[in-house]
């Protein structure tokens, strides 16, 4: 079993639904983004088009963050999900420097979005997280264990995200990667990511 995700760049419309649903699911503080959408324009006038690249932790098979972590706080579950035990993290940020995808965040910023103080929602959700530790996406492991899909997958309005077992050749993710030429980011880093993209 190795959980993985496939993101269809042709279907992504850059609505930021994944980013927002992730924020809502995890109640992450400002400055911590488990899921993000990068946007840029490609081409030359008049044939310019926007291109969107949703990014998240790649849950690498050869995770450099796990190797760099001195405490074992960054670790890998048997199902391939790379996770952080926040009770063990010392906040040395070596994992952030080791990650070639820049998808780890140090939680030392403001804990609420408005300067007037935390909203009731933030008090209920954001305060669950420890500060001065590193945070990142864990493929919504709690949801996955309950048989649900990660929040970003379940809430994508254009069905641009697929989640499944990369080791099962009959799974939808394996089929899409094979049939549509799915590619990971920075394969040259040798990290063997579990997030694949289908060309736009």
């Amino acid at each position: 079993m190795r959980w993985g995700m496939v993101i269809d760049l042709k279907r992504c419309i850059g609505c930021y639904g994944c980013q927002l649903s992730c924020k809502a699911e995890h109640g992450t503080p400002p400055g911590v983004f488990y899921a993000r959408v990068l946007k840029r324009e490609e081409g030359q006038y008049p044939t310019v088009r926007p291109v969107f690249l949703p990014v998240l932790c790649n849950h690498c098979e050869e995770a450099p963050c796990v190797d760099a972590c001195p405490t074992g706080a960054s670790f890998k579950w048997n199902d391939g999900i790379v996770d952080i035990d926040h009770d063990k993290c010392v906040g040395c940020r070596a994992c952030m420097m080791a990650c070639p995808y820049s998808n780890r965040y140090f939680n030392d910023g403001p804990q609420n979005y408005y300067e007037a103080g935390p909203t009731a929602y933030e008090q209920a959700r954001t305060t669950r997280h420890q500060n001065n530790v590193v945070m990142k996406c864990n493929f919504c492991r709690d949801r996955v264990r309950m048989g649900k899909q990660p929040a970003c997958v379940a809430n994508c309005p254009t069905v641009a995200r697929y989640f499944g077992d990369l080791e099962d050749p009959t799974s939808e993710v394996s089929r899409l990667i094979k049939e549509r030429g799915g590619f990971p980011l920075h394969p040259e880093a040798g990290t063997k990511p579990s997030v694949f993209y289908l060309p736009a």
Binding site: L38, G109, N132, H186
Partner: protein, 309 residues
């Protein structure tokens, strides 16, 4: 605006840029990591040369610097109370190995130095404890010299650091810092069996090595084709870090000491000049480490921006 809000705004700006500068190591509390790495490196070099040239004061300085470096490392951590957990992952993590190196060094140096400075009080210099201390301190010193370079080399997210030259460069820094600290201690009246001329020759040789390594690293980054590494070099030579590189590293760390060394060979070297040489060299090394760390830029996420290095 409060600092944490300003930090958040800066993060949003950084996340929108294609070549995102790393700010965690070197900015804010991150300066303590640079200080820690710098001080611990100087401690290792000072121990080596003080041991070789029989300088008791130098050994004591190395021990104190290592303790100071350990404190600086703790001040950098987000959760310093959990520092002991850093010994858990020695199999793969260079930080974990460095933690052991520092622990070995401090414990070993303590065991070795007690009979030197308090003779006949607790244990003697030819006791097993002092012998164990000597071996532990030596092992710790070797680890301290090499581990920092490997911490940076293993940072796959920062192409400028992800260079095989970094460990060699950090070993050279440690040696240069050691010679400079010994010069400083001799200038302040400490005994050393090494003649000043020999120390100066050592300093010249190691400085030449450091300059060659830096030049190779900069050249390698510029010609690698990786835009993040190239941006780092640009930041170092002509960007936001250039002031530290030219002012701190080149002027203070190379040109001023070189001029002071020149005065030694063209006439007698006063103790004050020797102290100035040691200080300038040591601070130059600090600025070199500071500027290379601050110049780090994250690997861009868009792949077409990042051809294979």
């Amino acid at each position: 605006m409060n600092p944490s809000r300003a930090k958040y705004d800066q993060l949003i700006v950084d996340l929108r840029s294609e070549l995102r500068p790393q700010r965690q190591w070197g900015e804010g509390r991150g300066i303590f990591l640079v200080i820690g790495h710098f001080v611990v490196g100087v401690a290792a070099g000072t121990w080596l040369f003080s041991w070789l040239f029989g300088s008791q004061a130098g050994l004591a300085i190395a021990f104190m610097l290592a303790c100071l470096g350990g404190g600086a490392h703790l001040a950098f951590l987000g959760r310093p109370g959990r520092f002991w957990r850093m010994m858990a992952h020695v199999r793969t993590s260079w930080i974990s190995r460095g933690f052991f190196g520092l622990a070995f060094f401090i414990a070993g140096a303590f065991l070795y130095l007690v009979p030197l400075f308090l003779p006949g009080v607790l244990w003697s210099t030819d006791s097993i404890l002092a012998g164990i201390g000597c071996v532990l301190a030596f092992v710790g010193m070797l680890i301290l010299m090499v581990y920092m370079g490997f911490v940076y080399t293993s940072s796959k997210g920062i192409p400028f650091w992800n260079s095989p030259l970094h460990p060699a460069l950090y070993i050279a820094y440690a040696l240069r810092g050691g010679v400079a600290a010994l010069l400083l201690s001799v200038a302040l009246g400490a005994h050393s069996s090494a003649p000043v001329a020999q120390l100066l020759l050592l300093w010249i040789g190691i400085t030449a090595l450091v300059i060659v390594f830096i030049a190779l690293e900069v050249y390698g980054a510029l010609t690698s084709g990786n835009p993040a590494a190239q941006r780092s070099v640009h930041e170092l030579l002509a960007g936001r870090i250039a002031i530290y590189f030219y002012g701190g590293t080149l002027a203070l760390g190379v040109l001023l000491p070189a001029w002071l060394v020149w005065t030694r060979f063209s006439g007698p070297l006063s103790l004050g000049t020797m102290a100035a040489l040691g200080l300038a060299s040591v601070f130059g090394d600090f600025f070199m480490k500071y500027s290379t760390i601050r110049a780090g830029v994250h690997l861009p996420v868009w792949t077409r921006l990042a051809p294979q290095r």
